[in-house]
Amino acid sequence: MDDLLAEFVAETREMLEAIEGEIVAWEADPGDRARLDSIFRFVHTVKGNCGFFDFPQLESLSHAAESALAEVRAGRRSADVQLVNGVLAIIDRIGQLTDQIEIGENLTTTGDDMLIAMLDNTAEETSEPQEIQAVETFSARSNTPSSTPRSIRLPVELLDRVMSGVSDMVLARNDLARRLRASGSEPAVDGPFERLSGILNDVREATTRMRMQRIEHLYNPVPRLVRDLSAELGKQVMVDLEGEDAEMDREMIEMIRDPVTHIIRNAIDHGIETPAERRAAGKHEIGLLSMTARQSGNRISVMISDDGRGLDCARLGSKAVAAGLLTEAQLAEMSREDLHQLIFEPGLSTAETVSEVSGRGVGMDVVRANLDKIGGTIRVRSTPGEGTLFVLAIPLTLSIVAGLTVAVSDQRFAVPRSFVEEIIHGAASSLEFTRLGDADLVTFRGRRIPCLSLARVLNLREVSDLRQETLLLIQLGTGDLFALAVDRVFDHEDLVVKPLAPAVMATGIYAGTTLLDDGSPILMLDVYTIAAQNGLVSDVRIRPAGRDEQVQHAAAKTRPIMLFVGMDGRRRAIDMNLVRRIDVLSRDAVDIEGDRAQIVIEGAILPLVGLNDRPLPEGKIKLLRLSDGHCELAYAVSEVADAAAIESEIVPSDADSSIEGVTLVGGQPIPIIDGLALFARHGRTIRTDTALTCRLPADDDWSRTMLHPLVQAAGYRITTSAEDSADVIIVMEEQAVPADTAATVIRIYSDADQPGSADCGIYRYDRDALMGALKHARAGKSQ
């Protein structure tokens, strides 16, 4: 049987079980509003689920019951015996049909019309006997054993017990392993122990997976649902799904499946307009429904947005007043945002007509009730004419998180791996560190990234040298990037994260706790909150998709700049993106000839600007090293002040072509240097940046694993193909080299004594000699 269908059957059955008690109670007291509501929700949900599948009878049955109950809810009809019996009969019938669906039988339709007619106001009581008969035939039928089910549903507590049992076994295994090691090797025991250990690892892996499911499972039915709904309603809707890799507790996925379905239905039915309306409003004819899931800290956020007409605040408000939820005075005081949240109140629907799809004022309250149950929250944001965004935040506790264990000051922590883009050692030559005020910046692949030291975040100690640290490059769901410096990175581990005590949780920097294999507890960091506490999270991407223009606009407005004091004592600013690093050099490196000044930095000669004909300071000179990607410049400054963001407008200056304009920073006018003009006037391509090519032996493991990274780090482009021209060729032992090559040849020998006999021969573990030879080759080629 189809997975979806199996889920549908299981879910319907579960709901039936859950409301069984309610039905009996309702029968006893049909005036009980709460019971009525929950029965109503049941038939509503069944009707909704039928939307996925082609079960017209089931749909018409539940629709009939829903309509009748809606009348009762609206007070237009009283719950008399006939109605109660009719509804109960339909619920029974839904149960039977579900059984039939499960065993894949063709659905029988006998008696369905009768059941529906029973609920009709004008129907007569005569239908009852036949209805009973129908029920009997089916109960006889469903008693026959069906095919064996391929999946079973288990209580979650049982799963939890199994999981904690397996965790205990792992700890006991580790303890035993330590004892075995201590008592010395005993082959008779070691073999079976290894086997046991392996099996245990498999079991553990399986148990941890038991609860987890990719969020994909939530997404799968969405395109179909959207297609069917939009076809039915004569609308055109495109779906955009993102973040299907996020893993979530199976239970959580089941819990939010209904809410998500309800929201999507509402979005298409009420949110997105018809193509004609959209054209008239100047929008693209095809509406966009996007769904994004991302893990942020210890929660998963699921965002569902449409670009439809938005919520009608005025109608929501007046409905709420009419329903007695609010007084006019309260309404007048409410903010728009709060007003939007009214859609989660029971009994409010802004739809003018009741349609097949949604709009009976049930749904959104069910959505919120379901989320409340699992400790989740839901918010809605809407802009009239532009669309609506629902943000569901679902807790992640009890889920397995792929984690990275790191250490700071001899203490271990876990970082969710999903955030970690890359791990870089601080000593890597591709990194440049800059200290601005109290903040650290690291430049990596041309991007200037804020750098947080975990030791400092945790108030453990001050980190003096980031080069000694290992950097985790962390990408947040919002797109913000920062580096987190730790002392060591240990390992990848799958961690079962458990909630922390409230007092610890209040620190905000931990998402949970987990036990390592050796049984010691370890804290999982809440990377998102840490970033937020340090002001590293931007709020520009509140909408999941389709807002790129706005993001760019916002980004342009808050362009980061660096403030400095020039040699002439005036404050200026320059685009932060241009600044590669700040250097302090001896004035001996400067060479001035007429109005042309140059400076030698790391063996390269760069144009020096910013002196403005002032004499050089005594001793050291402070420089901003600027780069536009092709050229480099040195800009002499007397002081580097601070980093800032341009918030106000840049007023262009006609008089001075060297500045882009003047902007206000902290109330002070600051001229911003026109980087473009600066490079146009002084820029010079840096010769050393042209990478030389080095050819390595094609099929040699040692060369691939050892040599490759070494040579690359020395600034060479790597090739293994003999066709490519190369500036340097590295060969093993006595391997032949094309005689006519102009390239420098380096021979690698595995015998330490051999190199002496040959030209350019290097012993394979003599790293210094190899680096020296590569450097020598570079110097020769670039002249």
């Binding site: 203490q411 991007r447 108030n459 007092a503 706790t513 507890p521 002001g535």
Partner: protein, 162 residues
């Protein structure tokens, strides 16, 4: 009908826990500290593959402490979370000879907050501890928490270059 009490000493004073509230008494082997957590939380430890939040009762009372707490701790569960309450020592299990009664004149502010009153035992009176108040820690009082607890780390927001 007499209630069973677990007798302990906190900062040298006689204290009693309701035995029904104590899951077990453990000897804490190792504690992983929790940086930036309130001072009264010593850290985390593990018991039968569940992690416990270790609370130093003396610090929770806001008392300045000299010596390290005893190795023994009483394990309690509050709202689904397990806590190990560090005391000087766990002495015995005793029967209460009276219902908890308020002490006229009070026990002093710190003790008053965590106490359910005084109970009589065969060995004399003891303060009956309110476990929830004990794990809640001292009220927001700057002298009772680490100076760094509430402070944000020194880094200020910086623009991220695109």
């Amino acid at each position: 009908m007499n209630e069973l009490l677990v007798m302990a000493r906190i900062a040298g004073k006689r204290a009693a826990f309701r035995a029904v509230e104590i899951q077990s008494v453990i000897e804490i082997e190792s504690i992983s500290p929790v940086p930036r957590a309130p001072d009264f939380i010593t850290g985390l430890t593990a018991m039968r593959s569940r992690s416990l939040t270790v609370v130093d009762c003396r610090k929770s009372l806001g008392l300045s402490v000299g010596a390290a707490p005893g190795v023994r701790a009483a394990v309690v569960e509050v709202e689904g979370h397990l806590y190990a309450l560090q005391v000087d020592q766990v002495e015995d299990v005793a029967e209460a000879r009276s219902a908890p009664e308020p002490v006229s004149g009070g026990l002093g502010e710190a003790w008053q907050r965590v106490s359910l009153g005084m109970v009589e035992t065969d060995d004399g009176p003891a303060v009956l501890i309110n476990v929830e108040s004990m794990i809640a820690g001292p009220p927001a009082n700057p002298s009772a928490s680490k100076p760094g607890t509430a402070r944000k780390p020194g880094n200020k927001p910086i623009g991220v270059s695109a």
